[in-house]
Symmetry: D2
Subunit: 285 residues, 4 copies
Amino acid sequence: MKEHSFRLTVACPDAVGIVAAMSSFFADEGGLITEANHFRDPETRWFFTRQVIAADSLPYSLEELRRRFEPIGTQFSMQWQVEETRLPKKVVLMVSKQAHCLSDLLYRWRSGEMPANIAAVISNHDDLRDYVEWHNLPYHHIPALEGSKEQHFQAVTDLLQDINPDVIVLARYMQILPPTLCDQFAGKIINIHHSFLPAFSGARPYHQAAERGVKLIGATCHYVTEDLDAGPIIDQDITRISHHDTIDDMVRKGKDIEKIVLARGLRSHLEDRVLVHGNKTVVFE
Amino acid sequence: MKEHSFRLTVACPDAVGIVAAMSSFFADEGGLITEANHFRDPETRWFFTRQVIAADSLPYSLEELRRRFEPIGTQFSMQWQVEETRLPKKVVLMVSKQAHCLSDLLYRWRSGEMPANIAAVISNHDDLRDYVEWHNLPYHHIPALEGSKEQHFQAVTDLLQDINPDVIVLARYMQILPPTLCDQFAGKIINIHHSFLPAFSGARPYHQAAERGVKLIGATCHYVTEDLDAGPIIDQDITRISHHDTIDDMVRKGKDIEKIVLARGLRSHLEDRVLVHGNKTVVFE
Amino acid sequence: MKEHSFRLTVACPDAVGIVAAMSSFFADEGGLITEANHFRDPETRWFFTRQVIAADSLPYSLEELRRRFEPIGTQFSMQWQVEETRLPKKVVLMVSKQAHCLSDLLYRWRSGEMPANIAAVISNHDDLRDYVEWHNLPYHHIPALEGSKEQHFQAVTDLLQDINPDVIVLARYMQILPPTLCDQFAGKIINIHHSFLPAFSGARPYHQAAERGVKLIGATCHYVTEDLDAGPIIDQDITRISHHDTIDDMVRKGKDIEKIVLARGLRSHLEDRVLVHGNKTVVFE
Amino acid sequence: MKEHSFRLTVACPDAVGIVAAMSSFFADEGGLITEANHFRDPETRWFFTRQVIAADSLPYSLEELRRRFEPIGTQFSMQWQVEETRLPKKVVLMVSKQAHCLSDLLYRWRSGEMPANIAAVISNHDDLRDYVEWHNLPYHHIPALEGSKEQHFQAVTDLLQDINPDVIVLARYMQILPPTLCDQFAGKIINIHHSFLPAFSGARPYHQAAERGVKLIGATCHYVTEDLDAGPIIDQDITRISHHDTIDDMVRKGKDIEKIVLARGLRSHLEDRVLVHGNKTVVFE
């Protein structure tokens, strides 16, 4: 990530003149827009945009940019944010015993493919400690035994408040977060569910899929809300199966889809490509 | 379909010696097996096979083959059938106003790609008459007005009993069949549903999909049973959508998936590649 | 196509202020931009945009819009065009004996899905006349016998000059166009080739694919240039095959890909979503 | 791999009675066939089969099975082999600097998903030593400097002869093997090439793809022969790209396809699902 850019994302009610105001704002100071995506939802008449501006083409800092853009934001009732690409987001990974998503994300991180700082890995099991620590990353084992779930989530919450991450990734964490935790980090928690939602939400989706006799299995990357597996969807994908595939085969084939969908969805989020509106997402590719 | 073959399909409890008995039966008379698929379900310990034998390599007729095979069928408690490829199945297409599946199937039929005799097209609207009749196929318009559904289905049932088809294809017929009709033609009615079931069963699946904000839409080809959209699945597929896609776009993109999935599933059925067991299918490709 | 909009497409060297100038131009008159895509090629530093403006939000006509936009076009050295969505493009379809693409496109046209006027179908065979004429479309049979290819192409060229189409679609036309014809309608001729180019260009691609033992077959929709199967690619797709698939199976399965890829690529072209630059395309979805 | 089975694979000229002879052979001793695939190539009239027999259902050992099956093999001029699932194949991985395929395969191995013994990793660079050694696997760094390629390959050959692996996986090894090495391990060397062959064989396929302006990129898993990138193909897959994708994006997206296609192809090979015939493969799924 040697690119040095400002990333501006905006959601607001549509109106004539928004793009003109924004592009004139940058053009007046010689700002070079290197990427721009616009979307107008014809149903809600809401407008979304993501723009990337070469930082060196502007004569001021991130803070100054934010200060100057404020009036435009106010004029058009924008929900807006500007980020700098040199400041990667702080990520916490939460896992259980299964390593496929964790292993995949750590490879992407150590090879420089994933633009993020991993602050910690939290798990309710100790199994993956060695692997994580080989990466020189802190590993927090917080058991989640039956009957002590409250303490588990209290400890998790305390730790997360300490770390104050930008993103929490449930990389097959297998525990249902309490509503307070969902609220506290709303819009910041990303989950991978091992089915093409809304089919087979809840527990054991591959078993549900086998029971129904489907010919496709899939995975869904979504933001976590209080409603189990019902938050805004970022990405989904599927793979074909046949009568030959046992549940074990489905689990194995599904892992490859889970890894890819989680990595793709997380990448979109890390690059500020996902704008949430209601229970839906705009994902600018 | 110039190929002249016998197609044998078998489902039975697994046992040692089934394949030996069947293959010796054919080998003893010089029968050349040109295709063979086997599947043993490890969970139910049930065995499925589909075998194609070059008809000219055997010294007897279809009837004689059936008579001679009978003892093997009995010995292993087989559900079995033998068909001859020169006798294509008799198909009835049922449609409403939308022509995409009908048009696709009729192209496949008139170009010789679909190995079937189309006996009739039945519709609750008269819209597609001209197009169907251009193909020199009989078109039966049986209105299905609110309040007269019973008469509609009585007339449909009478007509179907008259025609006595091997397969009834609901090519976007948009009416829920009464249980008696489902029963009467159990295993012979194929529907295309415009979602990746079990997600979005019932009415207006694209509207449901838009509401949920999914990133994939799909279609499912399945046998019709009394339980709406819950019969054994033959084939499914999906296509990607994004926030740009309105419901109209989803309908348009979905049609391409519906056409392909229905044609593929129907073809499998016409070639005796689908063996139903419980609420699941074995589909030999 | 009840939508009434202006579609503006632009390609020009990148510079600060292009989007500002364009968006201010529309905003100043109250023009509502309903769709906007931008792309800056970091390698060539060339800028591409497609913008759709609600026609009723502007106080002037298409001609007036063109006249007023001219100075901006000149200022930034733009290649630009504006089209009105109420004026669909005039299309000529060219076919040989195979009907799958023709049949697919005609369905899309008669169902209102394809925003185009089909002016004529030209074929070197008479086989598809009845089907085309059922659609009340003119069918021109111009034989292309060995030894009389020159006359064939002279007659084709004369007819095309007469019709003066916006787009010529080679829907499995199976004849190699002479360079003069390619030149005369440069950027307006769209072909479907039955392989994932650049693999298997030229004749009998499915036979080539079978020979090589590939596990995928595909189709490519591209603009026709003098170089056989080497023009700018609009869209491609593939389907999986296995050792079970004979060449006949590949031909059959390939047809479904050809139909979809041609329809998708043509639709992009008809909606002015394809901008050609050198031998590549920018396709705004 | 707790399953205890014998895996029999056969390729031979087709004849009446092959399946009968084989299935009777097993049935006579009470052998339970748990998986069976047959394929008759209608063009070459060659017959292929893969059968899995529950080892505990037979009263004899692997060696005894081989001895007893010998006469059937001779009778039908079979190329045949029997393997025992409890004896996983010995694998050597060869890599260069890029870790995506290596990392993916090592995850699959350590999680028990890949039924193989990894005997060693060989690399022309030392970069991946730590990661490999964390897995308690031997890492051999054999430099391949310009001008010393012969020594490199001599050392590699010596090491491989020492190890005597069943399979050599070129997991983005980036060096062209000399013909003698290809010959010596014919049918045992598996490569992943980062394009959908035969398109873009040779060096820098993503650059070639960018140059041509394709809308798909892919990967191909194939057996290595003397002819560069021309050996029998085991598996292929693709992913979509657009004008937005730079070569860096293509490299990144391509890695995900390379990993999956290599893992899938290797798995098929490890499970004796791939039968090579001429320059093509039969892959029993």
